[in-house]
């Protein structure tokens, strides 16, 4: 089948699947920077017309990045489940969109299909879907994971407590941590981005979080977001590591830029599993991703940034993560220029990840040189809350003073719960009630100056 379409009396011909996917992608600055975006709105639509008629199977049979030269492609091809793919194997991309939206397609069908889908298929179909389609289908997906609490259940929204500090100051971190817990935040993970990479500084953070979680029997997990090799060393050194974190990308070369490969991730997962620290589940991995990472590493092979991002989910999927977080607006305006592009990318990433069977969360965020503001974040929060996102970030006042960007705040998650009726992870919800911080409906109780958590942590800070 030739990759050509006609609009009016102008014919458009595309040289490769890669080119069709890139030109069919909704406009964004990163693809323009890479020189692979459609040159006009009409050319973009021509590419979408071609894509809609493309047999889904062709995306499996013709890898965008050669099998021989990329281990992510090999992982995608070798782990493909043909039996799971069978229900949609004869469809075109356009027909696949309709199959996904059909009322007869529900949670069970989507879960059964996930192992039969490849990143290229979900990226392709997303390009012929509007924002409402991305929400409607993602909302039907259910991905439940567990470690010390259970995440992803229907009607639930979890939050990562992110108490970062520019110098890893223990008292500054503890103050932000307390603030978050008092606001009922922390069921997804308590995760710190350290400023330092010195082993002693990192060890202090792991011990501090372990001590806190243990002392108050908090049903959650900790994570120190440093390089995976440092976390393996920490496990070998006997430190209390709950989750192992790593940023991952969608090509072997981009992952090499992160200093990782699939074998290293496997080693890290096995090390974390060996500690058996989970109580209700053994999902031990926490991955972060974001559109543009492959291009910024000059490792995109001419593949558009949204498709590269979906390929990163194939990497994540292989290691059965507790959490996958697309840090959507962090990378900057040369990849996602404004609020519109950030919102679209957030919905695409959540949709693609969920369809592939991942526990998707989103760092709803922006930097000060992007054309975006708090209103854009409010919009994306409501859209993703409606789409059933597994978790979001909780940063004090939305201002991360270590990473210098704006994310969602402790207040934002309260707003989302109140407006959309979303509850916390059940174990964490029960803990908040036991601690007298929330009532049986999950509503925060008025904070008391003599509360045990407050008294205890404040004493430690003096």
């Amino acid at each position: 089948m030739s990759l050509a379409a006609r609009i009016g009396n102008v014919g458009y011909r595309f040289g490769s699947l890669r080119e069709v996917l890139a030109k069919a992608s909704p406009a964004r600055s990163g693809d323009a920077l890479a020189g692979i975006a459609a040159a006009s709105a009409t050319e973009r639509m021509a590419a979408r017309l071609v894509l809609a008629d493309l047999p889904l199977r062709r995306l499996l049979d013709e890898p965008l990045i050669p099998y021989e030269s990329d281990e992510v492609t090999r992982l995608i091809v070798d782990s493909h489940d043909a039996a799971a793919f069978a229900p949609v194997a004869s469809l075109t991309v356009g027909e696949f969109r309709e199959w996904l939206l059909d009322e007869a397609t529900g949670e069970a069908e989507l879960a059964a299909l996930a192992p039969g889908l490849t990143p290229e298929m979900v990226a392709a179909v997303s390009k012929v879907m509007r924002n409402q389609d991305l929400i409607a289908v993602a909302r039907k997906c259910r991905v439940v994971t567990a470690f010390r609490d259970t995440l992803g259940l229907p009607g639930r929204l979890a939050v990562r407590l992110q108490p970062n500090h520019p110098t890893d100051d223990a008292r500054g971190i503890a103050a932000a941590l307390l603030d978050g817990l008092m606001y009922g935040v922390g069921d997804a993970v308590i995760g710190i981005n350290p400023a330092s990479d010195s082993p002693a500084a990192l060890a202090a953070l792991w011990r501090m979080l372990d001590e806190l979680i243990g002392r108050f029997a908090i049903p959650t997990q900790s994570c120190v977001l440093t390089h995976v090799s440092s976390q393996i060393q920490a496990i070998e050194a006997g430190l209390p590591v709950d989750l192992v974190f790593q940023s991952v990308a969608g090509t072997e070369a981009a992952n090499a830029g992160f200093g990782i490969n699939l074998a290293l991730l496997q080693e890290a997962r096995e090390a974390a599993l060996s500690l058996k620290r989970g109580t209700v589940g053994d999902h031990v991995m926490y991955f972060e991703t974001g559109q543009g990472s492959a291009l910024s590493a000059n490792a995109h092979h001419g593949v558009d940034q949204q498709t590269c991002e979906a390929r990163a989910y194939a990497v994540a999927r292989h290691f059965k993560p507790l959490l996958v977080n697309t840090v959507v607006g962090f990378i900057g305006p040369e990849y996602l220029y404004d609020g519109k592009q950030i919102i679209r990318a957030g919905l695409e990433d959540h949709f693609c990840g969920k369809l592939l069977g991942l526990p998707m969360g989103c760092d709803i965020c922006y930097t000060n040189h992007a054309e975006a503001d708090q209103d854009d974040m409010d919009n994306l929060l409501v859209l993703l809350g409606t789409a059933g996102v597994n978790f979001i970030m909780g940063v004090p006042g939305a201002d991360d003073i270590m990473l210098n960007y704006q994310s969602t705040s402790f207040h934002d998650q309260l707003f989302a719960r109140q407006t959309l009726g979303l509850r916390r992870a059940p174990e964490f919800e029960a803990w908040l009630q036991t601690m007298g911080l929330a009532d049986e409906h999950g509503r925060l109780l008025p904070p008391r100056a003599d509360h045990r958590l407050l008294q205890d942590l404040t004493r430690g800070l003096k």
């Binding site: 500054g172 040369e334 004090p396 003073i401 210098n404 404040t458």
Partner: protein, 256 residues
């Protein structure tokens, strides 16, 4: 109405926005407005054009030397933000003029560019150079280059055209909500197009509330001398200015 958080005493332990209280699920009005003021300052730092002529005139007044104004290939702020590649290259006019300016080999070219915070550059760049220049006596310097819509790597092309052994680029850093006026300083030995970030040394967060200007100048002077002596910058040149600046000069462990 507004509900206060009874742990306000902890707010002094971190610059993070904690103990804000709430109105329903949302922020109290004062906290919302304080945040938006910080964002406005950061946005204006990115988008306010740097007055290149005023900076050049300020340099002339302080140092009695002429500065040369050039522009990158990014024609305006919106292009600059979306096309980092264009912010790394001189426009044709600038390249021609700098080529004509070049004479024999020199030790150091200094470039001041707007980067992502004109606010930071306008506020601190000349003050930082006031602190730095007395420490650079004896070096062969090119005229100061003032660059519009410039990124770090613009210095590579400038340095190569001026036949500089080393280029120092001072530019505004991406502003955070609490740091709209921060400068970054990047040193690159043997500047030429295509240098990698790993081949540079960086001193960041230069602002009165971050790394104070005199300290930043001392650190840069140390790095400049070390780079010229050892003929390299980047991961191979570790910044050991701390021991020197603290007067230690030895390898004794810091007291903990």
């Amino acid at each position: 109405m507004k509900r206060a958080d009874p742990w306000g005493a902890l707010a002094g332990l971190t610059a993070a926005r904690i103990a804000l209280g709430r109105a329903g699920a949302s922020l109290p009005t004062g906290a919302v407005l304080r945040f938006d003021v910080a964002h406005a300052l950061a946005r204006d730092a990115v988008h306010t054009p740097l007055d290149l002529a005023a900076l050049a005139a300020g340099w002339q007044a302080r140092q009695g030397e002429a500065a040369v104004i050039v522009h990158s290939r990014a024609g305006d702020r919106h292009i600059y933000l979306q096309r980092p590649d264009l912010g790394r290259r001189l426009d044709e006019d600038g390249a021609t003029r700098l080529a004509a300016l070049a004479a024999g080999e020199i030790d150091l070219a200094i470039v001041v560019a707007d980067g992502l915070s004109a606010t930071g550059v306008a506020a601190h760049a000349l003050d930082l150079l006031d602190e730095l220049l007395p420490r650079l006596r004896g070096l062969r310097r090119a005229p100061l280059i003032v660059a519009g819509q410039g990124r770090v790597a613009l210095g590579d092309e400038i340095g190569a055209l001026l036949k500089a052994r080393l280029v120092l680029v001072l530019l505004g850093e991406r502003p955070g909500l609490s740091s709209p006026d921060s400068l970054g300083a990047y040193l690159t030995f043997a500047p030429q197009a295509g240098r990698l970030d790993a081949e540079r040394n960086c001193v960041s967060n230069i602002r009165p509330a971050g790394l104070p200007l005199p300290l930043a100048a001392a650190r840069l002077a140390w790095l400049i001398a070390a780079a010229l002596t050892r003929r390299l910058t980047g991961v191979g040149l570790k910044d050991e200015s701390d021991t020197l600046l603290s007067g230690g000069g030895g390898s004794a462990a810091l007291p903990s």
